[in-house]
């Protein structure tokens, strides 16, 4: 078995070397296809993170009726906690609200008004699973059902925008990813098909000189895998380079991440092998 693999590796590598121009073209095309897949993948990851960041900043402001005395506010907090213990609840007293308002907007306003018109409130942070337009509406309904809650506000437009954006992103990611996968497999398929066509006589001779069908198939699987691995390697380098360039040119503090770029090497290898497997099954007659 070991010697069998050695033969396939040697013949596979020498086959690529002998038709170096053809191999170069195949690697270049595969690099583009795997890079396309990488851009989609890492683009989706970064957009997903950005969307999650936006959702994390989304909070529910729950305003307490002025008719409820301050001494009963802790009871109200407990009632809210009973709705869903996973919610993060922060109490903001009338004084605290006034202080924040004065700090952020107009320190003189309360001197003119003589009275603090701001109600006490709760700020509620929802878990990510409830950050959907329908769930948010249910949250609002359940809060308004409590006695002593005047109003609940949140940025519904932002939530709907992010949610529909993520849906579109998933659809585009799926479509683009599938396209890139089909492109990579198709390119390897074609490259190996051409190699099989070009080596028809050699393969027949090798068969007569005792090469088994498995050995001949393995030559092309090795070639497809190597083309894919090299394409994946160059793609990961390209993605890392582009990621670094974007990071340098971005000034708004948005972070671009490229986690585990070496995954593209493995993905390239697997797609290359898959393309070769299909070409061998279709065109190699032994």
């Amino acid at each position: 078995m070991k010697l069998w693999i050695a033969f396939a590796l040697r013949e596979g590598l020498e086959g690529l070397r002998r038709s170096i121009f053809h191999s170069f073209v195949a690697v270049a095309a595969l690099t583009l296809a795997v890079s396309f897949l990488g851009f989609f993948g890492y683009g989706a990851i970064n957009l997903q993170r950005a969307a999650e960041g936006l959702l994390e900043s989304l909070q529910f402001e729950v305003f307490i009726s002025p008719a409820i005395p301050e001494t009963e506010h802790p009871l109200l907090k407990e009632a809210i906690r009973e709705i869903d213990p996973r919610w993060g609840i922060t109490y903001i007293s009338r004084d605290s609200a006034a202080a924040t308002f004065a700090r952020e907007f107009d320190p003189e306003l309360f001197n003119i008004l003589k009275e603090n018109p701001l109600p006490a409130s709760f700020r509620i942070d929802l878990p990510a699973s409830q950050m959907q337009p329908d769930s948010a509406e249910l949250v609002v309904e359940s809060l308004l059902a409590l006695k002593g809650i005047d109003d609940v506000i949140y940025d519904r437009e932002l939530l709907e925008m992010v949610y529909s954006g993520m849906g579109k992103l998933a659809l585009w990611g799926l479509g683009g990813g599938l396209f890139a996968i089909i492109l990579s497999v198709g390119l390897t398929f074609n490259a190996i098909r051409l190699k099989i066509d070009g080596q028809h006589e050699s393969l027949h001779l090798m068969s007569l000189l005792s090469a088994t069908p498995g050995m001949l198939r393995a030559i092309f699987l090795v070639q497809g895998t190597i083309l894919g691995l090299v394409g994946g390697l160059l793609s990961s380098a390209l993605i890392l380079g582009v990621g670094a360039l974007i990071r340098v040119s971005m000034s708004n503090g948005m972070e671009i991440t490229v986690p585990h770029p070496y995954l593209l090497i493995i993905v390239g290898g697997v797609l290359g092998m898959l393309g070769a497997l299909l070409a061998v099954g279709r065109y190699l007659e032994v």
Binding site: E11, R18, L205
Partner: protein, 216 residues
Amino acid sequence: MIRFLNVSLEHLPGRGIKGVSFSIERGQFVLLAGPTGAGKTTVLRLIYLELIPDSGQILIEGQFQHYNRKRELALLRQKMGIVFPEPRLLPDRNVFDNVALPLRIAGWKSRNAHLQVNRLLFRFGLKDRGRAFPGELSSGEQKKAAIARALVARPFILLADEPLSNIDAEASAEVLEHLRQINAEGMTILAATHIPDPYQGLAHRTLHLRNGRLIE
């Protein structure tokens, strides 16, 4: 060593062999003679298992062949040296790599393969032509390289189809001398030819084929 028992095969309309029976013993030099289309190449292709008989049995080293066991067929081919009418050297490999090909397939270690190939190249006067590509060789050199490739994996039989075709008289004499030496060392040889004269005094037996039938 090799026995044909009433073997028939029509692999193309009107082409093939009919009811052929013969046997070849170890160490013999057997000539398969007959005009073009007589079925000589068919007999060789049946022995090296490229063709499957329509009827009859072929025993190789006492074993009937199971044509569906491809791995076993491959292992059996490893024990046969084949010389084709055309040298069939791979044009994109040099002489050394062409001769070494059966050893690589058989999984010889690189060092041993290197020694064995050099030994054969030396024997056939191709020591200095190892790095040359087939296109740079004369017809005689190509034929000798093809014989070296056939012998490199130490087969038990050499199957040579028209070993003197497309080479000049001088190269023919050289090839015949090599075949004589190889046979003298104990190698069984089955050579197919449509011109048996040059082999006189060399072959132990001649099997005459005509229209796919053996004529003793």
